[in-house]
Amino acid sequence: MKPGVIAAVGVALALMIGAFMLYATADLMGDLHPDPYEHHIEYEVSGEIGGESVTGSAVCDTLRENDAFHNYHIVIDAVGAGGTAVSQSFYVIFGPDDIPRFFTESDGVYIQDSEGQRISLVIGDFCKISGFGFESAGLALIAQEVHE
């Protein structure tokens, strides 16, 4: 192999290592200072379906599409006293202004009404959904964040 090729390969390797070191440092710094908008929240769910009481849980996870927006996916799983299973999910998108898109604000609660479905959100700092309500035909659920 010609010396020039060896030197060029060496330069390319050095640049690759440099990029990796920068990434490792960024990753470490990210671990030390986690993104305040990244949430994994667990909820206790209670409510009723067709007059039957239900209890269960829900989880909110962050979805990354574009760093200027904050997207969350909420999945609800609940079971009625008579064994009726309820599974629902919905998305919430916060804009760069930390306000949920396509919701209207009323007394500090953000509400979305559509096609017989009503979602209401209670929001804390950094787009944290600390509680929510979910209503649709015959179904009414309230979710509260689980504090350990």
Binding site: V9, M16, L22, G30, R101
Partner: protein
């Protein structure tokens, strides 16, 4: 050397020089003219193939994301947005529209524009310096831009205030290595190897100053600067796209205008001078253009290495060294590489991986493979 043979084969197919045979009664002139026409047609075909690959990648990339929306729903949403038929009372349609139009499309466009800008800058720089290792990354221009932007972000030192002060800071400091290289080339007549080594030395000097600033900075600011400096395309919004677009597309257009001059420079300074070209002035103009492109891109996305280095090398295998074709081919390939890296990063790890590390981990080995396989004198 199977890879070397493959590259030679690809190059030969691109020029079709091996497949053409002189026919009976054909004069040398006619044969050369026919050979030229066939070679030109094959290059146009390769350009068309790159364009097709580009469209496929754009089409696929826009369907990828963590938000659950089907492949065809993405196009339905795009169509509805373009025709203005999104139902304002349907939150699902509005959410899909927000994700596709406001979040994914800016990311895809940023990838394309960054790829075009960096690859065109790399191709022009390699021709201008007659050095296969030249690109804004290896000559320290990107590091200078990064230093300028970091200065604004961590210490709040701006040459001009406001959000775009960061861009201007990046541009001013990107000019430092460029000016140094120009001055060095005028006074010392360095070898291409020396110019790259000087560029790398400048890069390390800027990196050292940047590390010092990080140590002094607020930990949260340092963390965000580190994350940004790895190279990310996930932060851009529609407000920034026109600026990145103007920098990349106008930069590319300006370099494209200079392709005939770059071809002459590629043949040597003496030849270029014999054609009446003011070599120094062209180099300065070219370096300023490349600095503007690199600074503009770095100030929005951080450092994204290897795209400017590798894309021209791959394009050169297919379309040869004529800058009139090489520059657009490199730009298209640069955009394709950015999209491929973004797709790979999403499929392997998810949307959280910065693209700068993916371009280094994919582009680096490809670059080394090309160098080793070609086995020609690098400088």
């Amino acid at each position: 050397m199977k890879i070397g043979n493959l590259l030679t084969e690809l190059r030969d197919r691109a020029s079709l020089s091996k497949t053409l045979v002189m026919t009976d009664g054909e004069s040398d002139e006619d044969f050369v003219f026919r050979e030229y026409k066939v070679a030109r047609r094959s290059k146009v075909l390769f350009l068309a193939a790159f364009a097709l690959l580009f469209l496929i990648l754009v089409g696929y990339k826009i369907t990828l994301g963590e938000y659950d929306i089907g492949f065809f729903d993405v196009y339905d949403t795009l169509w509805k947005h373009i025709t203005g038929s999104i139902d304002p009372l349907d939150p699902i349609q509005r959410m899909n529209d927000n994700v596709v139009w406001e979040q994914r499309l800016p990311r895809v466009l940023t990838a394309i524009l960054v790829g075009v800008g960096l690859a065109a800058a790399g191709a022009a720089m390699q021709s201008m310096m007659k050095n296969p290792l030249a690109d804004p990354y290896t000559t320290g221009i990107s590091s200078g831009a990064l230093f300028g932007a970091t200065l604004a972000m961590t210490l709040g030192i701006y040459i001009v205030g406001g959000y775009y002060g960061r861009v201007l800071n990046a541009f001013i400091f990107a000019l430092v290595p460029a000016v140094f290289i120009i001055m060095l080339s005028r006074w010392k007549k360095p070898s291409p190897a020396m110019m790259i080594l000087v560029g790398i030395a400048i890069m390390y000097i800027f990196n050292a100053f940047q590390s010092y600033m990080m140590l002094r900075a607020d930990p949260n600011a340092a963390s965000s600067v580190y994350t940004w400096s790895v190279g990310s395309i996930g932060m851009t919004t529609w407000e920034q796209i026109p600026i990145i677009g103007v920098i990349s597309i106008l930069g590319f257009a300006a370099l494209f205008i200079m392709t005939r001059t770059l071809n002459a420079l590629n043949s040597g300074d003496a030849y270029a001078k014999s054609l009446g070209i003011n070599v120094d002035r062209v180099r300065i103009l070219c370096l300023i253009l490349i600095s503007i492109i690199a600074a503009g891109i770095v100030s929005f996305t951080g450092i994204i290495g290897f795209i400017g280095l590798v894309s021209p090398h791959i394009a050169r295998i297919f379309v040869g060294s004529d800058n009139r074709i090489l520059l657009p081919a490199s730009a298209m390939l640069g955009a394709c590489m950015m999209l491929i890296c973004d797709i790979v990063s999403f499929l392997i790890i998810g949307a959280t991986l910065q693209i700068g590390i993916v371009t280094a981990m994919i582009g680096g080995p490809i670059f080394m493979l090309i160098l080793i396989a070609q086995q020609k004198e690098v400088w």
